[in-house]
Subunit: 421 residues, 2 copies
């Protein structure tokens, strides 16, 4: 049994409690800790309040306590004073830190004699701490040790915190605690909801325990991430092997559902395939109203394969820009197989691309009928081998129908690209 | 001295601790609580771990404890079992909740007899709780009371949590705790950055103190929200009057910058004006790649005034779909005044609309030149009176350039619509 090293994060700042600033620091820190085998077991977010901070420090139970926020130069920033009280020490000016603070202001064009005392006071730090250099700002990191536990205080500005963590804190933590290695792999799926997916891979999931692998389902609209994690064995190698073997089994089981790993995104996966083959893409969007186009063009370099698209919201635009015959629209309605297929072939011809995706549906909240309720969406993909289409029904709000339709359209294209390879 | 009502938030989920999901729920909840006069004093984020959850519940010290996460249908979701242990109760199936769960799956096209037991088990809820309906998903809200304190458990999926909070939890909290009334008004501005805006309204801001009004600047990309808030006076009326008077002064001072209030959105403001006048809109997007179109069509009912758009990423599409002469493109480049104006008039003519917006710019990270660096964006609006255009330079990443360009395009249209009225 390996000894588990745990950490907790104390995020300090009134702005975090009223939704003015979203606490993105804690997640990033937890991720960085996980990568070196330290488990963040809790995050406590509190205001700039002396008693709250003291209580949080006193109640911390982990090997490592990482504190962010409240180190600015203004009166409401009280963290370092509270740290002095907690550790029974006092603030002393650190000349080398003061020199760095002065240097930062000089680089910003300030005359050294005009630097305010309130800014120089950023170099007043607790006597008993080890100072951790901040190359990006005036607030230093502070490292304390007591009863075998480590406490580190850092500024709350994300890029300052990140540089202190990466260059100063994480290396020191690894050296001090020699944590066990955790191996992670996250497989990204789309096309099946969480519970249907869980049923489909139930026996595979049951087989994970024997391999000491933990599985987490991480759902977001249209996507379910599957995270496998395990502790490294004493020999340090077989954990990767165990996780890789189980991941390979999953690839065999649900190849059409897995579109990538880690922080991959579906439009990037598609972009990579198209780029490799020097092929191009166009879009004809009705109910998604430009959202697929936005997802595609949010990837840097997408102009290499994406030529453009038509957002055909009105039927007149479907007829004139995409060549849909008016009697086809009248006979079938805009949300229908013949129309969506003609949208796909129409935009592919007009924009002269290798591939095209077309989407037409009822996003709601209005516009549904008994035959075509809100959430009814037709998707088509046209390519060198012709056109295919499929009908889906999505629950949820207008935003969710749009989001899920876009993902489903991209996934149909991905699957078609794989078959065509 | 009014009695302060405090709340704490317990966010449950392993994914929050390793940075896979950013905890946006807690900030939103804190903001909503603040709006009804309840102070969120801490947020505790923990994993899907029985003992951690029990400890968090036992150590909670506020009047109100709001719990999110861990209510999904899979094995790692343990929150409701732990709640049963903590409150000494047991799970019982709630038939009306089961009927709602079945209904959700039927609407998705599932046959009732194919609905999995694991999904039906979402209707197994603690016997002693008051169930709070979830209209958006299968996990219900649960309201417990003990020793004068309220505990509410909600799903972690943001849109499900939000609907449960808004329709069920916040009204019940107001009724039970009768917190001091806070009067808010939030004015939404676009077109000036935070510090420039602050300088422009400096003396107005200074005059707020005498009226006991607090001002908060809430910046997000392209937008600065100005929130005025004050405690209600004993008579309960003059607080509104004070805030309204100061808001009216601001409308006089910066009419071109304020596009709405509260949670208003620029595309909705534009939609309302167009609808009132029975006018129509089309779009020609290059660097924004469909994002403006997405913003417009995310508003329900936008098909009444939005006919469609062309995403002209490749120059060939600009020429063929929008009628840009090839020598104009060669002479000026795609990111230029003549091209963006021709894009606007071209799409207005092709799609036969009253108004059109066109955007062409360098979103980056590549494609910048010394004359046209990344962030250079041309925007044009064409209407019954002709076409106008403007050049802007936005700092920041690709995502930010796209977002700011889209907002600037919509705001130029809004200002043009106001003048044309």
């Amino acid at each position: 049994m390996t000894r588990e090293i745990t950490a907790e994060i104390i995020s300090i700042g009134d702005e975090l409690l009223i939704g003015q600033t979203i606490n993105t620091n804690a997640g990033w820190m937890g991720e960085q800790l996980a990568l070196i085998g330290i488990r963040a077991k809790r995050v406590l977010t509190i205001g700039d309040d002396r008693q709250e901070i003291l209580d949080a420090l006193a109640n911390a139970q982990s090997h490592i306590v990482l504190i962010t926020g409240g180190l600015g130069p203004t009166k409401d920033d009280i963290t370092k004073h509270v740290l002095c009280d907690f550790f029974g020490t006092r603030l002393v000016r650190h000349p080398e830190v003061e020199a760095r603070v002065v240097d930062i202001f000089v680089k910003m064009g300030r005359d050294p004699k005009d630097i305010l005392e309130v800014n120089r006071a950023q170099a007043d730090l607790p006597e008993s701490c080890t100072v951790i250099k901040n190359d990006k700002g005036t607030a230093s990191g502070m490292w304390f040790e007591r009863n075998g536990k480590v406490y580190v205080s850092m500024p709350g500005v994300p890029y300052e915190m990140k540089v202190i963590m990466s260059s100063g804190v994480l290396p020191k933590l690894k050296e001090k605690f020699v944590p066990p290695t955790i191996v992670h792999r996250t497989l990204l799926t789309t096309g099946l909801g969480e519970s249907m997916l869980a049923k489909r891979i139930e026996d595979w999931e049951d087989s994970l325990e024997a391999e000491r692998i933990k599985l987490a389902y991480l759902p977001s609209p249209g996507i379910v991430k599957l995270r496998l994690s395990t502790y490294a064995d004493a020999d340090g190698t077989s954990a990767h092997e165990r996780v890789d073997r189980k991941a390979a089994e999953l690839y065999e089981r649900i190849p059409e559902l897995i579109y990538g790993e880690g922080d991959e995104r579906l439009p990037r996966v598609i972009g990579r395939i198209l780029k490799e083959r020097a092929q191009t893409l166009s879009l004809a969007e009705s109910c998604t109203g430009g959202f697929v186009s936005h997802l595609i063009t949010s990837i840097p370099g997408s102009s290499a394969y994406f030529t453009g698209g038509v957002v055909s919201y009105a039927n007149a635009v479907k007829m004139e820009e995409l060549g849909i015959p008016s009697d086809m629209l009248e006979l079938n309605g805009a949300v229908s197989q013949p129309v969506v297929e003609k949208m796909a072939t129409g935009v592919r011809t007009a924009l002269r691309t290798d591939w095209s995706v077309a989407i037409s549906g009822v996003a709601g909240p209005d516009g549904g009928t008994p035959e075509k309720p809100v959430g009814t969406v037709w998707i088509a993909v046209a390519g060198p081998d012709g056109v295919i289409s499929t009908k889906v029904n999505f629950p949820g709000t207008r935003d969710l129908v749009i989001e899920r339709s876009a993902l489903a359209g991209l996934n149909l294209l991905r699957k078609r690209l794989l078959v065509a390879s």
